[in-house]
C-alpha cells in the first residue's frame, strides 16, 4: 500500500431550506498521508471534517476532486468509527463485531480485542443495555477487528467523561501500536491530538483548507506523560499563532 492522496477542489452542499444557496464546505484541500501514519485532523466544529471522512469512506461522492487510496485496482478496506457508535441494536456486542466480516470472523482475535477493551463479560449483551462508553469501545473494536487499510475515527471520545475518555484513548493507542494502520483521526481537542498523532493537520473553518501541517516528534512511550505533551502544546501555540484562533 502506498500513500493516500487527497485532492478536493470543491465541495458544496445544497442548504436544506434554500435550494438556490449552497454551503461551501471544502475548497482546494490537498493532503498526502503515508502508510501506517497516525494523522490527527484538528479544526473547529462544523468546518467539514466529518464530510471529508465520509468522502474518504466512499459515503459521499458528490465533489470535485480525487481521492487516491494507493491500493491500485482494489477497494481498500475501511474501518470507520463514527461520532455516534452506530451499532445494530438487534445484534449482541459480539455479533455486531462479527457481522462486518466478509469471511468467517476470527474468533481468537475478537476475543483478545474484547478482552483488551474489558468487554468480554458484556459480549452477549445488546448494545442499548450498555453505557455510551462501552458502546464506543465496541465500535472501536469493530473498526480494528477487520484489520483495515485505513482507519477513520470521527471524534470517537466526544461526550465521554474525562477518565473514561482517557482510558479508552490509551487502550486505542496500545491497540494501534500492536497493529498499526493508517489512521485519520478527527478531533477538536489539541491535547488529545498531541497524545495520539504522528502528525497534526490544522484545518480552517469552512470552506475548509489546510492551515498547517506539523509533525509531532514526541517518542511513543512518552505520550502518556501529560506534562510533556502539555509543554509541547504551549510551544506549538507560541510558534504557530495562526492555529490558536481555531481552537
Amino acid at each position: 500500500m502506498s500513500d493516500i492522496r487527497i485532492r478536493i477542489d470543491n465541495k458544496t452542499f445544497a442548504l436544506p431550506n434554500a435550494a438556490d444557496q449552497r454551503h461551501h464546505a471544502i475548497a482546494e484541500l490537498e493532503l498526502v498521508v503515508h502508510p501506517h501514519q497516525f494523522v490527527c485532523l484538528v479544526g473547529p466544529s462544523g468546518c467539514g471534517k466529518t464530510t471529508l471522512l465520509n468522502m474518504i469512506a466512499g459515503l459521499d461522492r458528490h465533489y470535485d476532486g480525487r481521492i487516491d487510496m494507493g491500493t491500485a485496482g482494489k477497494n481498500p478496506s475501511i474501518g470507520y468509527v463514527f461520532q455516534n457508535p452506530r451499532l445494530l441494536p438487534w445484534l449482541s456486542v459480539r455479533q455486531n463485531i462479527e457481522v462486518v466480516f466478509q469471511q468467517a470472523p476470527p474468533a481468537a482475535l475478537i476475543d483478545s480485542l474484547l478482552d483488551s477493551m474489558q468487554l468480554l463479560d458484556a459480549q452477549h449483551q445488546y448494545p442499548e443495555r450498555l453505557s455510551l462508553g462501552m458502546q464506543r469501545r465496541v465500535a472501536i473494536i469493530r473498526a480494528f477487528a477487520i484489520d483495515p487499510d485505513i482507519l477513520l475515527m470521527d471524534e470517537p471520545f466526544v461526550s465521554l467523561d474525562a477518565p473514561t475518555a482517557r482510558q479508552v484513548r490509551s487502550l486505542l493507542y496500545s491497540l494501534w501500536l500492536k497493529r498499526p494502520h493508517t489512521v485519520l483521526f478527527v478531533t477538536h481537542d489539541l491535547r488529545e491530538a498531541i497524545a495520539l498523532a504522528d502528525r497534526l493537520i490544522f484545518l480552517s473553518p469552512s470552506p475548509m483548507r489546510v492551515i498547517s501541517d506539523i509533525e509531532v516528534p514526541i517518542a511513543r512511550d512518552r505520550r502518556h506523560d501529560e506534562a510533556f505533551t502539555e509543554s509541547f502544546r504551549q510551544q506549538l501555540l507560541q510558534n504557530h499563532p495562526e492555529i490558536g484562533g481555531l481552537l
Partner: protein
C-alpha cells in the same frame, strides 16, 4: 411478584368470559326467542357440526383462502412499500393511485372481480388481495421512510452486500411495521373473505353463513363465528405473540 400478577390476570380473564356467558344465558332465558339461542345450545350445535366434519371442512377452506391471499398481499405489499418508501419520485407518482385504491369499497372490488373474471377461485383471491395491498403498502412505506440513515452508512462503509444490508440493517427496522400490517391485515382479510365467499363461492364460512341466514339458523351461525374467532385467537397466541417477543428482546 410477576407470577402473582399473571395469576391474577388469568383469574380476571376467566371471570370476564364467565360473566359474558352468564349474561348471554340469562338473556336467552328471559327473551325465550328462537333468534337468540343460549350458550348450551350453541355449544351442542358446534359439537355436532364438528363431528359431522362440516365445520372443519368449511373453516379449513376459508383459512386456506385467508393464508393464500394474505401471503400474496404481504409479499407484494412489502416489496412495493419498500420501493415507494425509498424512492421519492415513484412515491409522489403512485401516491394518488394508493389513495384511490385505499378508498374503493371492498364490495365494489369483489363485484368487479367476479364480473370481469367470473365466479372462480382466482377472482376471489384477487379481490381480497386488491383490498388488502394498499394497507400493507402504506404501513411498510412509513417504515421504509423512517430507516436509520446512520446505520445504512455504517453498512456501506463496511462494504455490506445488498443481501446483508437487507437482512441485518433494513429488515429488523421494518419488522414492527410488518407485524402491524400482519395484525391489521388478518383482521381486515377475514372480514372481506366472508363477503367474497358469500357472493361467489359454493364453500367456505361465508357460503355457510349465507345458508344459515336463509334458514334463520342462529345457533349454527354463532357456532361457526366462535370457531372462527377461536382460530384467529390461536394464531395470535401461537404465532404472532412469540414472533413479537423474539423481535423485541433486544429492546431496553
Amino acid at each position: 411478584m410477576p407470577s402473582k400478577e399473571s395469576r391474577r390476570n388469568k383469574i380476571l380473564a376467566v371471570a370476564s368470559i364467565a360473566l359474558l356467558l352468564a349474561v348471554w344465558h340469562l338473556l336467552a332465558l328471559t327473551l325465550h326467542s328462537p333468534t337468540l339461542p343460549g350458550p348450551a345450545l350453541v355449544a351442542a350445535t358446534f359439537w355436532r357440526a364438528t363431528l359431522s366434519g362440516e365445520l372443519p371442512y368449511h373453516l379449513g377452506i376459508t383459512l386456506l383462502r385467508l393464508l393464500g391471499s394474505f401471503g400474496v398481499a404481504m409479499l407484494l405489499g412489502c416489496a412495493i412499500g419498500i420501493v415507494l418508501g425509498k424512492n421519492k419520485t415513484l412515491d409522489a407518482f403512485f401516491d394518488n393511485w394508493l389513495v384511490i385504491f385505499l378508498n374503493i369499497p371492498a364490495l365494489v372490488t369483489i363485484i368487479l372481480c367476479y364480473v370481469w373474471f367470473g365466479l372462480v377461485e382466482s377472482a376471489a383471491i384477487l379481490a381480497v388481495v386488491i383490498n388488502k395491498i394498499p394497507n400493507v403498502i402504506v404501513t411498510i412505506r412509513e417504515g421504509a421512510r423512517a430507516l436509520d440513515k446512520d446505520l445504512l452508512e455504517m453498512a456501506q462503509s463496511y462494504r455490506f452486500g445488498k443481501g446483508k444490508i437487507f437482512k441485518y440493517v433494513i429488515w429488523p427496522q421494518l419488522h414492527p411495521f410488518v407485524m402491524a400490517a400482519t395484525r391489521s391485515g388478518l383482521a381486515l382479510i377475514w372480514k372481506i373473505i366472508l363477503v367474497v365467499e358469500l357472493l361467489g363461492r359454493s364453500n367456505g364460512m361465508g357460503y355457510q353463513l349465507h345458508i344459515f341466514f336463509q334458514l334463520f339458523d342462529v345457533a349454527s351461525l354463532l357456532a361457526y363465528s366462535f370457531a372462527f374467532v377461536a382460530v384467529i385467537q390461536l394464531m395470535e397466541v401461537g404465532f404472532l405473540k412469540p414472533l413479537d417477543r423474539r423481535s423485541q428482546r433486544w429492546r431496553r
